[in-house]
Each structure stands twice: as structure tokens, then as C-alpha cells.
Symmetry: C2
Subunit: 307 residues, 2 copies
């Protein structure tokens, strides 16, 4: 029983209305693995970095119970780098630089020790690589969660549709759900997307929360109203990592348990945005996680008895 997390491990340079960073640690697999590590222990990472990537960070992954046998370190090459600047509303951003570097030739290797994978988190990556990972696993995982983005809808739609068909839970944001379905109404968009293959769809709406759909039910979890959103980078990956980490811990993939997973994922995301990069989710205490989840309970719970 293990959780496999596949995605980028990278450098980011981030500018927000609150400040600016030099190159800091980022990447979808980084955020997702760290978030999952607060819920489950047997986490395996598949990714690629250059030899510019700090060994101390890999050690920090290991300290969080994240195995890095599948994290390839390419000699003489550079890690993936992304630079972006958020607008004042913190909901939109401009990409200032994207240097693919090692990602250009990424060929995911699944170590033998990873083959007991029961939960698979496919972070945002080229759809063809996401598909390769599924194909290279000897047994199909119990649950495959796929994250993707608008860029692949524009440049690799055929591959994307194939890999979406192979997944159980698709996570995208509201604009991407509209783009993928051609429907403005998120309810109609969800109905269309669920017909493309996935049994569950999570639509992430950033500060406006997240929706979970299956063909018959819908659940909504708000984002926690925060005094300050400092840096939204990685919030979606952190959400997904908390979600699948909770499912992996409880081994229950019912709709009811996915609701709880979404609350735990939202709690992790609410930490993520409080500081730059991975700073906040690198060093959380279990008590803090529990308190934050309780804040979500308090935020939405009400008691109505209909006569």
C-alpha cells in the first residue's frame, strides 16, 4: 500500500503584491507530496531535477517520509524553472519565464519498490508522460487522481482526453472546466466532463472554494477566509496532495470520504498561501492541521431541522 506522486520538482521565482523571492523550491510533486505527508507515510515520488537542485531539499523530502528513489537527478543539467508575477487580486498572474530544462527529456522511471502503488497522484505535466506512468505500473492503482491545466487543452488535447479517460478523479479550475466542456455553467460543465471518463470531478475555484461532483451528487467546500493571501503558488497541488493523502490514510474512496478529503485538502491549501512557496507546509504541526480543519467545520456547519 503506497501513494505515488508524479509531477514537477522545480525552482520558482515569485512576485506578489507582498514581496518577491529569488529562486525557491517549487513544483507540483513537491507541494502534493509534502501535503500528503501529514496524512500518510508511504509516499513515493517520481520526478526529475538537474544537479543544481539542493541535496538538503531532497533530504527534507525524505524526512517527511517521502521516498525519492524515483526522483532522477540529471548530471550537468538544470532543473525546471518557472517565474511568475501575481496581480493585485491574487487570482490572476503573468508567467515571466518558463525554462523546461530537464523536463524536455523527462522519461519517468518507476522503481520496483514503487510497484505496490494503490493511490496515484498525477500532478500537472505533459499528458503523454502522465499516461506513461499509468502504463508502467504493473497493476492499476485503486485510485488515480489527475491534475492538468489549460495549456494542455490547447496543445495536447488528444493525449489529454486519453489520460482523462484513464483517471478516477480529475481536478481542474473553473476556467479550465469551462474550456474543457464548452459550457459556462459549472453544473453543465461537470456533467459533460464526467462523460469523458472520470468518475469524480473536482473544480477548484481558488479563494471561492472547491466543488466535488459525481454523476449524482455535488459537494461544496469553501476556502477559509484569510486575512492575507500571501502567495497562491502551489495551493492547487497542496490541495490535491492533502486530498489524496487523506484518502490513502483512510483507504476509503466513497463520495462521503472524498468530502472529508476535500476539507483536509482545503485546510492544507489554506496554510500554503500564508507564506511564500513551501515555507508553511514544510513545517506544520499535527495540532495546527487539526485546528485548521476545525475552523472549516465552524465555518460551514449549521443545524437546520425541516419540519
Amino acid at each position: 500500500m503506497s501513494l505515488l506522486v508524479v509531477g514537477t520538482v522545480a525552482f520558482d521565482a515569485i512576485e506578489t503584491p507582498f514581496g518577491k523571492t529569488d529562486k525557491i523550491i517549487g513544483g507540483a510533486a513537491t507541494y502534493a507530496s509534502l501535503a500528503a505527508s501529514y496524512f500518510t507515510q508511504n509516499i513515493n515520488m517520481v520526478s526529475v531535477v538537474g544537479d543544481d537542485f539542493p541535496a538538503e531539499t531532497i533530504q527534507q523530502f525524505n524526512d517527511h517520509g517521502i521516498h525519492t528513489d524515483g526522483l532522477q537527478v540529471k548530471k550537468g543539467e538544470k532543473s525546471f524553472f518557472w517565474a511568475g508575477k501575481y496581480h493585485n487580486d491574487m487570482n490572476t498572474r503573468d508567467t515571466l519565464a518558463t525554462e523546461l530544462n530537464v523536463l524536455m527529456t523527462f522519461d519517468p522511471v518507476i522503481p520496483q519498490s514503487y510497484q505496490d502503488c494503490t493511490f496515484l497522484m498525477l500532478g500537472n505535466l505533459m499528458p503523454a508522460i502522465q499516461m506513461q506512468v499509468i502504463e508502467r505500473l504493473h497493476n492499476r492503482p485503486k485510485l488515480v487522481v489527475l491534475d492538468t491545466m489549460n495549456f494542455w487543452m490547447e496543445t495536447a488535447m488528444d493525449d489529454l482526453m486519453k489520460v482523462i479517460k484513464m483517471t478516477d478523479v480529475l481536478t481542474i479550475n473553473d476556467a479550465e472546466a469551462r474550456q474543457l466542456s464548452g459550457e459556462y455553467s459549472l453544473v453543465k460543465a461537470a456533467q459533460k466532463i464526467l462523460k469523458m471518463g472520470p468518475k469524480y470531478l473536482i473544480i477548484k475555484k481558488g479563494e471561492h472554494g472547491a466543488l466535488l461532483f459525481n454523476s449524482e451528487q455535488v459537494f461544496f467546500a469553501p476556502a477559509l477566509p484569510l486575512e492575507e493571501v500571501f502567495d497562491p503558488t502551489g495551493a492547487g497541488d497542496t490541495f490535491a496532495g492533502g486530498f489524496i493523502g487523506y484518502l490513502a490514510r483512510t483507504k476509503d474512496i466513497s463520495f462521503e470520504n472524498m468530502k472529508r478529503g476535500i476539507i483536509f485538502g482545503s485546510a492544507m491549501a489554506s496554510f500554503c498561501v500564508e507564506k511564500f512557496g513551501t515555507e508553511r507546509i514544510m513545517n506544520l504541526e499535527q495540532d495546527e492541521v487539526d485546528e485548521r480543519v476545525q475552523e472549516f467545520v465552524d465555518l460551514v456547519q449549521f443545524d437546520i431541522t425541516l419540519v
Copy 2:
């Protein structure tokens, strides 16, 4: 024990991506009174119309248990008229026409039979008129709910601040909360606004739900994800009417009960947007209201036991 609703009773002409209306019935007091009528019976309306306003509509108000002794009908004058066009996202709109007509000289009269007012809903109007209504009541109501808009922040800020100070619950949208407080973060905005006088603040976020704040607590209610939002006109007033109508029925103004009020208000607003104008909320069955509230329960309820 009665609920007094003050606000416009008017004609609207509405254009949305789904269609266009001629002059139809609108106005804040119209929507709020109708919504409240599904929860409480002793509703008194204060407003003004011209003699172009249909007697059948006034009869419909009465049929909903809404008393219209305080609805002045001005001979030879025309009712307030607003025309607007919604953009494709349905969240923004252009005003095409505003004809104040009878509103220009509106002097609110409180009939003696209305003086037992315990719940007061002040719909969006000139702040000076909202204040006059409070002053013309012999006893201060148990709860005063005030709705306002950005226009008064720009043109009548002094009067607005005075009337805000006299209210218990202020309802505004997210952009207005930011404008009134000068804070982007809604949490910080709420803290500042609560220092201006009101004990409770409701921030309406349209399709993204509503937040209820007091100085120590926060509660969030989502909007129901709908297949189609047909016409958002009046949704905020309908929400407020459902909210105060529920409080008037239960006579309980605790934070816990306000949470329930917000759920009932949100349920009423979700009906409002399904058709043009007042069409949907003019003819609801109690069963439909109960079913809709149950949908809200199903949408957000989850069960987490923290160990």
C-alpha cells in the same frame, strides 16, 4: 410583532444573455417582502409608486400577506424605472436607464398600524431616507437590517455612515465591502466595518455565496450551483428578505440562528435567479422551499471527527 420592509417598488427592464423583458415589476422592497412572505405573515411595506403601477400587483402583495398601507401611490406621477443589461458572466451589468420619478420626492410615511415593528429591513435607498424611517418609528426595532450600495458610498458617505451606525446587520457585496473599508482582504474589511457600528456584517458574493461576520465568528454559505442563472436581478434583496423573514418567524437573533437565516435567504435567492424578475418567487410552494434548503444541507454537510 411585525416585519417592516422599506425600499423601492418599481419597474425594471432587463436584458441577459438569455433574453430581454419589457417593463416588469421589480424593486428592493418587492423582492424582499415576497421572499419574507414564505416565512412570516405580518409584513408591512413602505414605499412609493406612481399611478402607472398595476393595482393587480398590489393585490398580489396583499395575497402574500404583505400590507400596503404604507405604499404611497402618487397621482399623475410615474414609478421608479431601472433598465440594465447583464454581461455574459452574469456577474457584471451596465445600467441603461435610471428614471427616479416618484423616488425624487419620496417622504416615507409610517402608518400607525406599522408601529409595532420588531424587525426592520431597510432595502437599498438614499441613506437619508433609511435614517428617516428609523427616526419615525416610536420604538427601536429588535433588529435593523440595512442594505446599501457603492453609489451611496460615492455620493452620500456622511449620511451612509450615520445610518450604518444605527443598524444591527449590514448587507453589502464583496466589492462594496472593499470600497467601504479600503481593505482588499474580506476578513480585514469585515473587522473595519464592524467597528463602524453594525454588530453583524453579511458580505454577499453572488454565485460565490455569502459570509456572515460578527466580531468573533465567521460563517460561510455557498450559493447553490445551478445549471442556469437566468436573471440575477433582485437576488440580493430576495436573500435579505428570506434572511429577515426567517429571523422574524423564529424571533431569535443569535449568531447560530442567523446562520440558518442565511441558508434560507440563499435558498430564496437561488429561486429568484431561475426566471426573469419576480416570476419565480411570486409563486413558490412551501415544499419547494423545504426541498431547496435540503439541497443546501446536502451540498455542504460533511462529518469529520477529529481524534
